[in-house]
Symmetry: C2
Subunit: 353 residues, 2 copies
Amino acid sequence: MSQYWSDIVHTLTPYVPGEQPKITNLIKLNTNECPYGPSPKAIEAIKAASNDDLRLYPDPNGDALKDALAKRFQLERNQVFVGNGSDEILAHTFIGLLKRDKPLLFPDITYSFYPVYCRLYDVNFNQVPLNDHFEIDIESYQQPCGGVIIPNPNAPTGALLPLDKIEQLAQQHADVPVVIDEAYIDFGGASAASLINRFPNLLVIQTFSKSRSLAGLRVGFALGNADLIAGLERVKNSFNSYPLDRLALAGSVASVEDEEYFDDCCRRVIATRTQLVAALDNLGFSTLPSAANFVFTQHPDNNAASLAEQLRARNIIVRHFKQGRIDNFLRISIGSEAEITALIEALTNILKK
Amino acid sequence: MSQYWSDIVHTLTPYVPGEQPKITNLIKLNTNECPYGPSPKAIEAIKAASNDDLRLYPDPNGDALKDALAKRFQLERNQVFVGNGSDEILAHTFIGLLKRDKPLLFPDITYSFYPVYCRLYDVNFNQVPLNDHFEIDIESYQQPCGGVIIPNPNAPTGALLPLDKIEQLAQQHADVPVVIDEAYIDFGGASAASLINRFPNLLVIQTFSKSRSLAGLRVGFALGNADLIAGLERVKNSFNSYPLDRLALAGSVASVEDEEYFDDCCRRVIATRTQLVAALDNLGFSTLPSAANFVFTQHPDNNAASLAEQLRARNIIVRHFKQGRIDNFLRISIGSEAEITALIEALTNILKK
């Protein structure tokens, strides 16, 4: 508390990201990072860009990255927005598109940064409960609102909405922005990017932090109608002209261009997820169907907080959310096969006790 | 214009950064970049960090960079804030510290991003005229206000306020935040960082984009009382948990640790500035005294816009601001000796005509 803070600062409840421990030799299954490194071509491109040109500002518009993404998604450059991770893009979206008279709708159990943005920018919101299966029921979104934002797949549940439901949602709310936060879409879902030319109110946000193994580079992007993107550009250019550094631009362009590596990486994560779910089943866990690079699971006889703590004692970190309805679940990121084997071994020993 | 924009977006007048041309072989004296590359140790550190660990999120707090800066400025870690360029830090400062009931004060001629932030965050402001010598007169800031922000040296004039004036300003406004934006301080001024432990209302903002030759890496920092910094952290953690990527952290830490390279770089820029001012004098220009890595200059018989245009035709870019009081000035960044020689040659030829 300080007399020098603006009023709004006193009301904030900042987001708490998953732990980023500085000690090594941990099995880190708590922040949904990819167990495999980025495309070697991305690393090569970054090294090539590590030169005296770093004295110069980057392209403020990130056109090379916009062009690479436009090509991949069969869109135009002016339908692509890029930013310093999808979190920054979400922030710009909350102030630039979702701050309206009527309340913004999002699930009661979802990415916990959404209400944080709402408090920062004084955005009116209503949280819509997931159904009893922890799924988003789009019928429950049929209410007057200023906009809708949902992650697909949802976090931390991993549940996927099929594309026809997204289409229905965009149609039902044609007069307000509908934002689909697709951080995890590459692990088993179909992107709503294909609907953009049909729905001028639809914004799709993705990240390089998960399926592209570049959480450490901070790159995200949004796809949408040119008018929506122009709104985000106006906010961005009133905030920071150069959100993406030269290395992030070089690395992300090379990553987009290496489709083979990307596809292979997603396939491997999905295969390990299948193995993990089966092993958890064997141990008596009940796991929600996941289309993401994590699973959300609970055990009938074991308290989740205690399990997380016992895993931590064995140098394995998973994520536990102290929140009503889900406080008996663990969110476990899909690690490498070796990491998942170690996790299952640890859980087996813990449950034996 | 779009029905999907929030109301605020319609009112914005985004900042327009200096041109970042994509063609090469230009002499680029328009955005105050350093003519010399960054410390070789920074480039080495970036290359070393270009590895599979990019799959992992960076340290959300950037502690390694905070520690390096704290050591350099003889402060504590909790007196240091880091961000994605000083522009991002300024944005957080406007919403987090400078949005108050009474108006924020800043010069009428100054960094043109300040009124842009005010519009984005609905911050009430008063622009205080520079005196007839285009200097900040701190007497004119003796009025009720919610805060003060000034660049020192000021931009685009290059004029420096000595430290005792900054001290007076911080004292006169002890009940509100006083922010000193020191993007150019290393080229001839004394930093107000030395006053921080005496003035809890004083925030000093610096950047790696100028004197550290890392405009392409996007790193800035703020120094201040722990309470001020805590306010900025609350905003940052309500906006984007991970503003600095792994490469930016690695490169900026190595840059701070290479004091010798940094000192040498600043010395070279200052020496070239002296040469440039003398050569401009010879051509009949009248140049404001500059403590920055640029000069602000006008010619009695030649229109600035036309001079800028004629230089552009000779592949030399300088900056001209279409703004009352200063529309006959050119802002010229201090390039390398060879670039400045070419500039003077071009100006000599233009004036001959």
